[in-house]
């Protein structure tokens, strides 16, 4: 049962930061509440003040600039991202990711900012944004700062957000030429959280054959989404082959640090990492290659 709390609603960023400042001794920010309400109902979180920023319209936007790339405001819902023609054109991987994120009801209410700040290692947007070399803009009453997504997640349900801070937007640089980004998660129930998820970005050289750059991210395999940096190194400069994919899968399984839970053993999760890495790297590689031709 959800314990009583004081509900406070902010309509602007300024109001939100003021409210947080006033109640910093015991508060929680809610922005859609699709994850938070479950924790509150289970009694795991019982804030005295709930500060709702979902109505902060100035953070509800999707903008694209050829130079700067994509900017998604924190209060933008998953469903808005999913249905955006702009996102479909420039970052199709996000539409694919959203289509498989929970139910339509959840996507209608849940927001990009809320999802990231929840810090669930099995969340979908985190790994994809990391593969896209994304950054986040964070503000408190005192200061504003920008961090890469790689720096954002710390531990289970923990991010770098400090007391008094809220996330304002996600920034994704334009996808470089000859690059493809793909994402997939393994689950039993469609649209459920991933038991393991993998996002892969592959950039090819001008020759269209060898790998110029790679960003590989694994979700649900550690206390936070992780970059598989050794796997990336292994791919860069190489040409694709069955052997290379095998090696990449093996390397990523080693890099992952999964734990056993009721849904899968540690061993099975490592196996899934290998399977998904092989599949995603190959898929991204082929899509990038198609751009060269």
């Amino acid at each position: 049962m959800i314990r009583d709390f004081i509900y406070l609603k902010a309509n602007t960023v300024e109001e939100a930061l003021d409210l947080i400042d006033q109640h910093k001794e015991d508060y929680k920010v809610i922005c859609g509440g699709q994850s938070l309400l479950i924790l509150m109902r289970q009694g795991l979180v019982a804030p005295e003040h709930l500060i709702d920023i979902k109505s902060v319209e100035e953070l509800n936007y999707i903008q694209f600039d050829e130079k700067e790339g994509l900017r998604i405001g924190a209060t933008t819902t998953h469903r808005t991202v999913e249905l955006s023609p702009l996102v479909l054109e420039k970052f199709p991987v996000l539409v694919h990711m959203e289509e498989n994120l929970a139910s339509i009801q959840t996507r209608n209410w849940g927001t990009i900012g809320g999802n990231l700040c929840h810090g669930d290692p099995a969340g979908d947007p985190g790994p994809v944004f990391m593969a896209l070399n994304g950054a986040v803009k964070i503000a408190s009453k005192q200061k504003t700062r920008t961090l890469t997504l790689d720096e954002f997640f710390i531990d289970y349900f923990e991010t770098v957000l400090e007391e008094g801070e809220i996330l304002l937007e996600v920034r994704l640089p334009p996808i470089p030429p000859r690059t493809a980004v793909v994402y997939e998660k393994f689950n039993i129930i469609k649209n459920d959280q991933g038991i393991i998820s993998v996002a892969a970005s592959i950039t090819l050289n001008n020759d269209g054959l060898s790998c110029n750059d790679a960003r590989i991210v694994i979700g649900a395999a550690a206390p936070a989404p992780i970059r598989a940096k050794e796997t990336e190194k292994l791919l860069i400069g190489e040409k694709i082959s069955k052997g290379l994919l095998e090696k990449a899968g093996e390397k990523a399984s080693e890099e992952a640090d999964p734990v056993a839970d009721i849904h899968a053993s540690e061993e099975y999760r490592r196996h899934l990492v290998g399977v998904l890495i092989k599949k995603m790297v190959e898929k991204a590689w082929e899509q990038a290659k198609a751009q060269v031709k």
């Binding site: 039993i188 129930i189 009721i262």
Partner: protein, 758 residues
């Protein structure tokens, strides 16, 4: 003229509009003036002595009206086993010791839920933890911690079934196969959690609104534990949001709200949370199965020996019946000339296991059907042929147990075989698995010791021809209200919309034992049909006087037309006849009663449904992930009453039974369920559902109303086995442990690859 006007036509649920428009009042919706809210404190220990309970701080909290513990009750050990007192072992509010995590120890009534919840934290229970045991195969060992003094080696119940000379038959066998299987647990996951509103008044009467499968059972069980007369208690259950076997025993919401209300003379409402629902409202029985089967080279079945150890949990609940039925249905739906079954239900310090849709039969069918495929494979016999060769048939007698009056199993096999042939060559990594099954149409058991008929119905035909139908059966979403309306309309010769149904209220409705064991269509259906036939007889008396037909002519009513059977065009309006008839009866409406109790129908059930299911699934060889593609079921439920209802039952059953087969489980750590919420407990949703097809195989069941049999639970029996066999067909490996998770499949594939390399 068609044989039926109403039966076998697709009719939407008679209470469907009330439900989808939100008018249907469920217990959850009941709010009475001055009503208080109750919460239950539950044991955090799997096994512990209760040394002391201090409620003073909780009682002192503002807004708290009462706190009760087991000491405030009569301390009656209760259960449905009213004929077998030794099996009544659960007090609901524990007094001396707790035997599972989640067992109720105290209850609070307060002005609102928050206050009640806060008060729970203020109750101080002093426990002395005892050593506990969680697995039946551990609990049965000498020296294991004992849960109940009278149960040596924690053995709660044993069941033995035997016919033929088993040992001799095994000697005659050309091929003998032994296997061990493990069947997991499953939660019912009703959309409406267990809940009750109890309202005791100083005049000594108690009214309880509750979500139940049997208002009659709850009324009597409450009288046992509260010391009230049966008929000073009224139980109202107009709508029940799902039962699946979890709601015909007395539960903690009903008991605690009643105890609190009697103390306060105010209404008290208790609604269990989803977590409580998972932790402490009973569940499907996990079973360890040993099977040994002996067959001839040509596939003829000779002998079967089955031994089962079930995880009982802390109390008997309905587990003793699950233990018997799993043994009985282990032989189904085949002719085994000799058969021996020994079942042991073992107490463990876990949440009690009990009835759940299929009542022991899904476990039996999974093991039996998996083994039959392995036998067929070994002997090189077609899997349909081996089933056909040994199939039960009409008039077969299960020795000492049951007589099968109608049986369409062979036709079901034919239909499924055709479908498989039409399906042609499958894509790679696909497999079609089949499983044959049968089930009962209501139990003959009277452990409850009711002196009433098993089912009763009352009909009143009013002056405008509209019909009041009073039934005791409980609709919990399975559609029995619609089924009864259809049976009444058909027999009386009116339309479904002419019937006004009165149900879910012990003050107004005649006794019916409730919705369990797939009993309503046959038992309540027979009672309704009898009452309708009697009412019709009364109406036709007046029609005969008016029409003065030749004495050799029979009269009947069809679709509101009273007519000569031989000359349907000669007749009168039903409405006119009824009006005259009532005038002629000194102004009394036409009233008739009907009832049904099975007699001379063996040990188990008056009739049995049969069927064969084919499940097509694909298996990803990289991950072991199973995807359901098709599910085709040839089901013999006698005469279909409502094709729409049958389709609904089938789809619901597949979702539940496939979930049991490859997704659902209740993993525990030291007796604590690890996934007591709908985030971590997965169930199948529409997106995971395969294409489903039902192929009706019509037989005529002489004992059923219009020839009908069950079509509810039996459909839950085959799916886990068919799915296991589909995986076997797709991968060549057989998984003998439920649920069949991707990880188990992958491990089995690796094992096989290792073996093949050697």
């Amino acid at each position: 003229m068609t044989k039926f006007n109403v039966i076998n036509t697709p009719i939407h649920n008679v209470d469907g509009i009330a439900k989808v428009t939100g008018r249907a009042v469920y217990t959850f919706d009941v709010n009475l003036p001055h009503m208080l809210h109750g919460k239950i404190l539950r044991s955090p220990y799997p096994h512990a002595k209760i040394l002391n309970i201090d409620t003073s701080q909780a009682e002192a909290l503002t807004g708290v009206k009462a706190v009760v513990t087991g000491k405030d009750t009569l301390g009656v050990k209760q259960g449905i086993w009213r004929r077998y007192k030794e099996l009544c072992d659960e007090e609901i509010l524990a007094r001396d010791k707790v035997c599972y995590i989640g067992e109720p120890v105290a209850a609070v009534a307060a002005v609102d839920e928050d206050t009640a919840e806060e008060a729970l934290d203020l109750i101080e229970v002093e426990y002395e933890p005892l050593s506990a045991v969680f697995e039946p195969l551990e609990a049965i060992k000498e020296g294991a911690p004992l849960l109940h003094e009278n149960a040596e080696r924690n053995i709660n119940v044993t069941r033995h079934i035997e016919w033929g000379d088993v040992d001799e038959a095994f000697k005659q066998a050309d091929y003998v196969r032994e296997d061990w299987f493990r069947c997991s647990s499953q939660a019912h996951v009703c959309m409406e959690t267990h809940c009750a509103v109890a309202d005791y008044i100083p005049e000594g009467k108690l009214t309880v609104w509750t979500s139940t499968q049997s208002h009659y059972y709850i009324k009597v069980l409450l009288s046992d534990v509260l010391g009230l007369k049966e008929n000073d208690i009224r139980v109202i259950s107009r709508y029940t949001g799902g039962g699946f076997g979890s709601k015909f025993e007395l539960d903690s919401a009903q008991f605690c709200s009643s105890v609190l209300s009697m103390k306060l003379c105010k209404p008290v409402k208790i609604v269990l949370s989803r977590e409580e629902e998972f932790m402490a409202t009973k569940r499907r029985t996990p079973m360890f199965y040993y099977l040994r089967s002996g067959v001839k080279k040509d596939g003829t079945f000779l002998a079967k020996e089955a031994r089962v150890f079930t995880e009982g949990g802390a109390y008997t609940a309905m587990g003793a019946t699950a233990l018997y039925l799993t043994g009985f249905f282990q032989s189904f739906p085949y002719v085994w000339p000799s058969y021996r079954y020994d079942g042991y239900r073992v107490y463990t310090n876990t949440a009690p296991t009990s009835a759940m849709r299929g009542f022991g039969a899904p476990q039996a069918t999974f093991c039996a059907e998996t083994q039959i495929d392995l036998i067929a494979e070994e002997l090189g016999i077609d899997r349909i042929d081996i089933r056909r060769k040994n199939a039960m048939y009409a008039d077969y007698e299960v020795p000492g147990q049951a007589t099968i009056q109608s049986c369409g199993l062979s036709e079901c096999l034919d239909r499924v075989e055709e479908w498989i042939k039409d399906r042609g060559k499958l894509p790679p990594h696909h497999g079609i698995g089949i499983a044959a099954y049968g089930f009962m149409s209501g139990g003959i058991f009277n452990w409850f010791n009711t002196p009433y008929a098993f089912s009763s119905a009352v009909i009143q035909v009013n002056v405008d021809g509209k019909v009041d139908l009073f039934i005791g059966s409980q609709d919990m979403g399975q559609g029995s209200n619609t089924t009864m309306s259809m049976i009444c309309a058909e027999e009386l010769g009116v339309r479904v919309e002419d019937i006004r149904l009165h149900m879910g209220d012990t003050d107004k409705c005649p006794v019916d034992l409730g919705a369990w064991g797939s009993r309503e269509t046959l038992m309540q259906g027979n009672a309704v049909k009898m009452a309708a036939a009697e009412a019709k007889k009364q109406i036709l008396k007046y029609a005969a006087a008016k029409m003065s037909p030749n004495i050799v002519y029979d009269l009947d009513i069809k679709d509101r037309w009273v007519h000569l059977l031989a000359r349907p065009e000669r007749g009168l309006s039903y409405f006119d006849v009824v009006k005259e008839a009532i005038r002629g009866k000194e102004g009394q409406p036409i009233v008739a009663r009907g009832h049904y109790t099975p007699h001379r129908k063996g040990m188990i059930s008056p009739a049995y449904s049969f069927g064969v299911q084919a499940v097509e699934a694909s298996v990803d060889s990289d991950t072991g992930k199973v995807t359901l593609k098709n599910c085709v079921t040839a089901h013999d439920c006698g005469q279909v009453i409502n094709p729409l209802g049958l389709q609904g039952q089938l789809e619901g059953a597949i979702a539940m039974a496939a979930g049991y087969g490859f997704i659902e489980d209740l993993p525990m750590d030291e007796g604590k369920i690890l996934n007591p919420n709908l985030v971590d407990y997965k169930i199948l949703r529409t997106t995971e559902m395969p294409e489903t097809t039902v192929m009706g195989v019509t037989t005529y069941e002489p004992e059923g109303p219009f020839g009908a049999k069950e079509a509810g639970e039996g459909l839950t029996n085959p799916t886990a086995g068919a799915l296991a066999n589909a995986v076997f067909q797709a991968t060549g490996t057989s998984i003998k442990e439920l649920p069949i998770t991707p990880e188990k499949i992958l491990n089995a594939l690796r094992e096989r690859n290792k073996r093949e390399k050697k």
